[in-house]
């Protein structure tokens, strides 16, 4: 083994043990534990000016990011947040959580009636009351203020239970506490917390989240018709102290319905989550007292981003629970149903469906709990991973539920078994809290951000890009290899359980392929991509979205690989009875993900693919001009 490779492996070994030490230091005792709220507070406390979003990002980027996702764009294997699979609950928290799981599960099994809630298009009154008494409305509010003071990991476990039973209720609870009053939890002053948190924790007052740039009305506002306390984002004129110029910046407010001027429209009729109230909310001449500003005046965008970021893990946890319940139904059907002379679970096509469903659930669950643990450990750079978990979870849940209906055949289509209701409920999860399309662009652009800056070192070459592209790509490849040692100096051995070493290798290879393409593309498009990131509302590149979409998919696949490697490694090391099964799930995922990444990245470099993008653009343009399809049927009649 060449000395530089050895040195790199050693360095990786050191790094991973350092990160293990780091993680041990982070393992919370009740005194040291950093709640997500405090972690976010740490972000808020950093000295901030009212300058553009980009310079804010620059400052945080200067401290080396511990995010795995940020690392892969630079061809780095950043293991701090992902290996070993984090375990953050202390004895007391574990014990407490165990005590909570039973009663919550029982309530949803015996009291809540999801079918009824769906047909009534609201949660039954007695159930709602029961939920309030249960304490479900203030899970993360500190106990001194009337809540349960759960950390993110504990919250995730309970969110799983709600997701297993009723997504409508899940959205009501989530819109209330995961985003509705999260702002007060994260950014509220002591006075604001004491005023609002006890009320919202008991469910006496319901919370909702307003849009971030519509001043007068909010469309599709969850809990809009029933919430009494809103976190609202509105444009406010801010005077720049230095220049005296007046700019419009977003500020976050806590708005009470009782302030007057808050009205709402009729509840919207929806495809799913019918029990959840969705309504337009109008704010007309609402007088908001100065002490109701949340965070800094003009700092609303950061408040919004942090709230959404902070709440995303909840969705992955919820959907992991939904998938668990759906898979149980599918397995039950496959086990008992006889068709064509055999129980259908003996047929290969059914076996593939069930296996794929289990793998998707395993990945989502692993992401959810890794993310919640990272947040509990006090890590602050997890926004890309949070976005990835939302994209992955919502798409996985849709596929799993859809396949369950397929396995059940005609029965799946009927109302009675309840699976069609879940499919209807799930559809919105790919849309709200940031559409998966926008989030993909976010993942790609945010990931490229740091890398783009690094490449400014290649400034001279960029002055004559056309002449130097070949040189630059070669240069980039060389840089990559130099940084990582000869050949594949990056390695997960020593970090990943030996039984998973093949999957570990696949992951590292995939990472290299990914990073190489990122670098090449950034050199080609750098100016355009980076300049787009300077605008606070992240108006995305029109032409480059085909590329960004595929880069995001690569990042998602890579994070998924690493997450299951980490979890399966831990299970194998700890000798769990299901560890061998987890190994199969992990290996299967890695085989397909690696192949997908290879194909995606190869495509991005190929000419036929570029032609494809050009075709898409032209086809779409023609369709717009036509007002629909351009072609008529073959009969031309």
């Amino acid at each position: 083994m060449s000395p530089s490779v050895g040195r790199h492996l050693l360095r990786l070994g050191t790094r991973s043990s350092q990160s293990t030490v780091l993680l041990r230091q982070h393992r919370p005792t009740s005194a040291q534990r950093l709640y997500a709220s405090e972690a976010a507070q740490a972000v808020v406390d950093k000295p901030e000016t009212l300058s553009s979003y980009a310079s804010t990002r620059e400052k945080t980027a200067k401290a080396e990011s511990k995010s795995f996702a940020v690392g892969i764009f630079k061809g780095r294997l950043t293991t701090d947040q992902v290996f070993p699979y984090p375990s953050v609950l202390n004895q007391e928290q574990t014990q407490f959580l165990k005590e909570l799981v039973g009663p919550v599960g029982r309530f949803f099994e015996e009291v809540n009636d999801p079918a009824k809630n769906d047909s009534l298009e609201q949660v039954e009154e007695t159930t709602l009351q029961g939920l309030k008494e249960l304490g479900a409305f203030g899970l993360q509010v500190p106990s001194e203020l009337g809540g349960l003071g759960l950390c993110n990991t504990q919250y995730a476990r309970l969110a799983e239970i709600v997701g297993m039973h009723d997504l409508g209720v899940s959205v009501i609870l989530g819109a209330h506490q995961s985003i509705g009053f999260k702002g007060i939890l994260l950014f509220g002053t002591k006075a604001q917390k004491e005023k609002y948190l006890p009320k919202v924790a008991s469910g006496k007052t319901l919370g909702g989240l307003g849009p971030h740039h519509l001043l007068i009305a909010s469309f599709f506002h969850s809990n809009g018709g029933i919430a009494d306390v809103f976190t609202v984002f509105a444009k406010t004129p801010i005077k720049d102290a230095a220049t005296g110029a007046v700019k419009e910046k977003i500020t976050a407010f806590v708005v009470e319905r009782s302030f007057g001027g808050v009205t709402h429209g009729l509840p919207e009729k929806k495809m799913g989550i019918k029990a959840s109230n969705t309504a337009e909310v109008y704010f007309d001449g609402v007088k908001v007292p100065a002490e109701n500003v949340l965070g800094e005046v003009g700092g609303g965008f950061k408040v919004a981003v942090n709230i959404l970021n902070n709440g995303r893990f909840g969705m992955a946890a919820t959907l992991a629970g939904t998938m668990k319940a759906i898979i149980a139904k599918a397995v039950d059907h496959a086990t008992n149903r006889t068709q064509f002379g055999d129980k259908i679970h003996n047929y290969g096509m059914i076996q593939e469906k069930l296996a794929r469903m289990a793998i998707l659930q395993y990945v989502t669950e692993s992401m959810a709990y890794m993310l919640s643990a990272n947040m509990d450990q006090g890590f602050t750079d997890f926004q890309i991973e949070a976005a990835i978990s939302k994209i992955f979870g919502s798409e996985a849940a849709w596929k799993v539920t859809d396949e369950c209906i397929q396995i059940m055949g005609g029965m799946g289509f009927m109302k009675e078994p309840g699976v069609e209701r879940v499919l209807r409920d799930i559809r919105i999860f790919r849309i709200f809290e940031g559409t998966n399309d926008i989030l993909r662009l976010f993942v790609a652009l945010q990931g490229c951000m740091d890398k783009g800056k690094e490449l400014s070192g290649l400034g001279n070459a960029l002055k004559n890009p056309l002449g130097n592209v070949g040189l630059l790509i070669g240069e980039a490849g060389k840089q990559l290899r130099r940084r990582t040692g000869i050949g594949s100096g990056l390695s997960l051995s020593g970090v990943v359980h030996p039984e998973l070493s093949r999957s570990g290798e696949l992951t590292v290879q995939a990472l290299e392929e990914f990073a190489t393409v990122v670098e090449a593309k950034l050199i080609k498009h750098k100016k355009a991509i980076v300049s787009e990131l300077l605008t606070p509302t992240l108006i995305y590149l029109i032409d480059e979205q085909f590329l960004l979409h595929r880069l995001a998919d690569g990042a998602i696949d890579l994070y998924a690989m690493v997450v299951v490697l980490s979890r399966a490694s831990r299970s194998l090391s700890e000798g769990h009875p299901e560890a061998q099964h987890e190994k199969m799930l992990c290996d299967s995922w890695c085989i397909e993900a690696a192949a997908r990444i290879r194909e995606n990245m190869a495509n991005l470099q190929s000419s036929p693919q570029q032609q494809l993008f050009r075709n898409f653009k032209s086809i779409s343009k023609a369709m717009v001009e036509s007002g629909g399809l351009v072609t008529s049927n073959p009969l031309r009649i």
Binding site: F96, G102, P103, V104, E133, G135, L139
Partner: protein, 255 residues
């Protein structure tokens, strides 16, 4: 102002919804990793005691359980339902397997005297062994009157009126305190432990003690020889006519 104090005994059993599997060595059923909860009849007993406290007829409700460390989870559930404090009579896991009604009755009798309680509530039987003996044995050891299979309980000063469900119908008896009452299904519907109450229960005390501290000997004169699954139900046979049916029944010696 009520001065009455109640002791409620609760048992940790395999959850009723779990599919029971017998261990391959036939020594018992599989308990490792299996979901456990409070015996449903014990829940009803706790609920009744807590309701009496809420009506201010009882001053203090103490929850007790005998067994290994995990019993504390069951005691915590009782605390979350409203009991004031708990007592865990710790028995190591290996010995706990041979804990039967007589041993538990001895423990409860000693505790009832030590704590000077006026009422001892239990569930009528546990859903794992279906013994239906512990309450009765404890009353015998204490020489206290007993009201078993209670479907309604009314405190009357220093007496307690118990309506019992028996085979012939309902029997109402009046007992002098102190007495033992075992709960039947229709006595009440237990409340759901709410999460805030579970949180408050964390602050309530559980006293841990050993059977030796109470001077109780736990040796059992009973040993389990084997535990087996019930025989598989055989498939039925279809016949065409009533004559065939009679012939078949004669064949198997049923008529």
């Amino acid at each position: 102002m009520a001065e009455l104090r109640a002791l409620v005994a609760v048992k940790r059993v395999i959850d009723f919804a779990v599919k029971i599997r017998v261990k391959p060595d036939k020594s018992g059923v599989v308990t490792d990793g299996v979901k456990h909860s409070m015996n449903p009849f014990c829940e009803i007993a706790v609920e009744e005691a807590v309701r009496l406290k809420e009506k201010k007829l009882v001053k203090e409700v103490i929850a007790v359980s005998c067994g290994p460390a995990q019993c504390q989870e069951t005691i915590r559930t009782a605390l979350a339902m409203g009991a004031d404090r708990g007592i865990h009579v710790e028995v190591p896991a290996a010995q706990a397997e041979s804990l039967g009604p007589l041993q538990v009755a001895r423990v409860l009798a000693k505790l009832a005297e030590k704590e000077k309680v006026d009422l001892l509530f239990l569930g009528k039987q546990a859903i794992d062994d279906d013994c239906n003996q512990t309450g009765q044995m404890t009353a015998g050891l204490l020489d206290w009157p007993q009201g078993t299979f209670a479907s309604q309980v009314t405190l009357e000063g220093d007496k307690i009126k118990v309506e019992r469900e028996i085979d012939g119908g309902l029997e109402t008896i009046r007992l002098k305190l102190p007495s033992v009452v075992t709960a039947d299904l229709r006595l009440n519907e237990p409340r759901y432990a709410t999460l805030p109450n579970i949180m408050k229960a964390k602050k309530k005390k559980i006293e841990v003690m050993k059977p030796g501290d109470l001077g109780v000997d736990l040796t059992s004169k009973i040993s389990v020889i084997s535990v087996e699954e019930p025989p598989q139900r055989l498939a039925g046979v279809k016949v065409e006519t009533t004559e065939d049916l009679v012939a078949k029944l004669k064949e198997v010696g049923r008529i």
